[in-house]
Every structure is written in C-alpha cells, then in structure tokens.
C-alpha cells in the first residue's frame, strides 16, 4: 500500500472562481459583501434600509439568493438599483460559480458596492468563498442568544455581526450582553452593531460601517471614489 500526499483545498474549484471574482472586484474598486443569516433574521430588510438611504447616483448592485421564488428581488428592485435573483433550486448556499454566472453581463467598473444576500442558512454558506471582501452575519433577537456557539463557523468567519430586531427586545427572553459575549468567544474582538430594520434605530451605524469599508476599497482599487 502506497500513501500519496494530496495538496489543496477540497473546494479548490470554488476558491479558484472566487479568487477570480475577488481580483475583478479589486481592480474596479468594488466592495463586495456576503450577507449570511438564518431564514427570517432580516437580511432583505437590512438591504431595504440600505438601498432606501442611497441616492440615485450611487453605483450599487444586489444579488439575492433563495432556493425558490424571486420575492426578494422584487422587494429590492423598487429602489431602482440593479438587482438579480439567484434561484438555487434546492441548493442550501450560493457558490462562486453561481455568483460569476449571475454577474456575467454586469460590468464591475459600473459598481462601487455589490451586496450579496446568501440563502437563509447559518451552516453551509460559511464554507463557500464568493470572492467577497467580508462576510456579514445577521442575527435577530428572536433567535437564541447562544447561536454563535451553535454555529461557530460563520461567526468565526464573518467580520461583522448585525444584531437585528432590537425593537422586539421587550417581548423576548434574549440577553444582548450574553449574545455579544458568545459571538466574541467564537470570534475575539468581533464588531457588533445593534439595529432595528423595522424602526430604523441603529441603521446609521451600519451605514457608517459600510461607508468606511467603501472608502477603504476605493483607496485600494482603481475605481474612482463616489
């Protein structure tokens, strides 16, 4: 019996396409973010709040992933920015190939910001690099405050935690301090923003975070600042 060492990542084909996308985003100074949460935590609502605050001259695009329906794309298209639905037909996550196909006729040079809403799932999307500059995990106070411990992979990999539905805090037994401590046990120093997409409270913190990241990616890339 002969043992032959193998090199490389299992998802190297995905990673190859993701690297290609990342190079493309970097060259055009496009900030790409990958939003991940369980179903119903408020990814689409956060995107609605984000898009409604942008003026018409902002160069923003959205890809939104779901197993079925284009409901989210319809919800988001009313703000006038380019939105494309990726319907996975059963697959529980987006992969880099799907993103590349969805962007095939989009010019990166026309986008300063690309927001990708992943399929609602805290497990599988964590394994797939989409070429994003950062993963953002959205969690809501109607979920358990131990979620970071139950799904450590995504909380480990995401740069930012957006804690949504803060307006519902009086009605649920959710402990914000414990949730933040749990997130930082998995990901020491993790940035956390508390928002309510329903009332708009805290959304400006998210917008500031976004603006800082966009400035940084404009500086790094060849794209012109907005």
């Amino acid at each position: 019996m002969n043992r032959i060492p193998l090199q490389g990542k299992i998802l190297k084909e995905n990673d190859r396409i993701a690297a290609e996308l990342r190079d493309g985003f970097a060259a055009s100074g496009t900030l790409c973010l990958n939003l991940i949460s369980s179903p119903g935590a408020g990814k689409t609502s956060l995107l609605e709040r984000t898009l409604e605050a942008f003026g018409p001259r902002q160069r923003v695009g959205v890809l939104t992933g779901d197993i079925q329906t284009d409901n989210d794309a319809v919800r988001l298209a009313r703000f006038g920015f380019p939105v494309r639905q990726i319907t996975t037909g059963g697959t529980c996550h987006l992969d880099a190939r799907m993103v590349k196909q969805a962007l095939a006729d989009w010019r990166f040079s026309e986008l300063d910001l690309l927001l990708i809403e992943n399929v609602g799932n805290l497990v599988c999307p964590a394994s797939y690099d989409l070429g994003e500059a950062a993963k953002v995990v959205v969690m809501s106070v109607t979920e358990g405050d131990d979620k970071p411990l139950k799904y450590p992979a995504i909380f480990h990999k995401a740069e930012l935690l957006v804690l949504n539905k803060m307006d519902l805090l009086p009605y649920v037994p959710f402990d914000v301090a414990r949730a933040c401590a749990n997130a930082r046990r998995v990901h020491p120093g993790m940035e956390i923003l508390e928002v309510s997409c329903t009332t708009g409270a805290g959304v400006e913190g998210w917008q500031q975070w976004l603006a800082q990241r966009r400035q940084a990616s404009c500086r790094e890339g060849a794209g012109s600042p907005v």
Binding site: M1, N2, R3, I4, P5, L6, Q7, G8, K9, I10, L11, K12, E13, N14, T91, C92, H93, D95, V123, C124, A126, S127, Y128, L149, Y151, P152, A153, I154, H156, K157, R185, V186, P188, G189
Partner: protein, 115 residues
C-alpha cells in the same frame, strides 16, 4: 446539507487522480476537516458512500481527520488548543489571540495499491 456537494468535489479529485494512474487501484482518500469548517463528518462520509456506490472506484474508503481549533498568541508567542471557545492565551492571559488552525477543509492523501 452541503456535505453532498463537498463529497462530490472530493470524488472529482479522486477520479482525476485515478485517470492519471490507470494501473493503480485507489483504496482510500484522506481529508482534513477542521472543527470550525462547518462540515459534519458523518454527513460527509454518508454522502461520499452514496456517491461512490456503483462507480468504478467502489469500494473507496474515506478517512476524515478532525482538526482542532488552535490559536497563536502574538504577545508571548505560544500556540495552544482552544477548547470550549476559551480563546484567551493560557500562558500570558492575552485576550486577543489569532486562529491558526481549525477551519481546514483540505485533501490530505490517497492510499493506492500499485501492481
């Protein structure tokens, strides 16, 4: 259940290796899967078994090495295993330590019988 897609990616690598070694028989493929990889080893093994069934590669075994989470402390330079999410440095107490292992999703080896 992305384990099926991951098992499929592993199988494609093994098929490519098998094509490069027409005289050899691949007996086993080894993987390294970190505890932070977000991949369930049992589901991955089951998916792999199902995909291999009925192919020329059958009976191909899968061995998964589970890789624990390890951190490095930049302050004192020590490296330690993180159990139960306690990521503070056990030597100097520094709270900010850096994850250096535990999110592997890698190919490790093939075991091959050659004539």
């Amino acid at each position: 259940m992305h384990e099926l897609a991951i098992a499929d990616s592993v199988l494609k690598v093994v098929e490519a290796e098998a094509a490069r070694r027409p005289d050899a028989r691949i007996v086993k493929v080894g993987l390294r899967v970190g505890e932070l990889a977000g991949v369930d080893p049992d589901a991955l093994s089951f998916s792999f078994e199902v995909l291999v069934r009925g192919t020329k590669l059958e009976p191909l075994l899968l061995e998964i090495e589970r890789c624990p989470r390890r951190h490095h402390c930049r302050l004192c330079g020590c490296t330690f295993a993180v159990a139960d999410f306690e990521a503070a440095c056990p030597e100097c107490g520094a709270a900010q330590t850096q994850c250096i292992a535990g999110d592997e999703l890698e190919l490790a080896y093939l075991e091959v019988e050659e004539p």
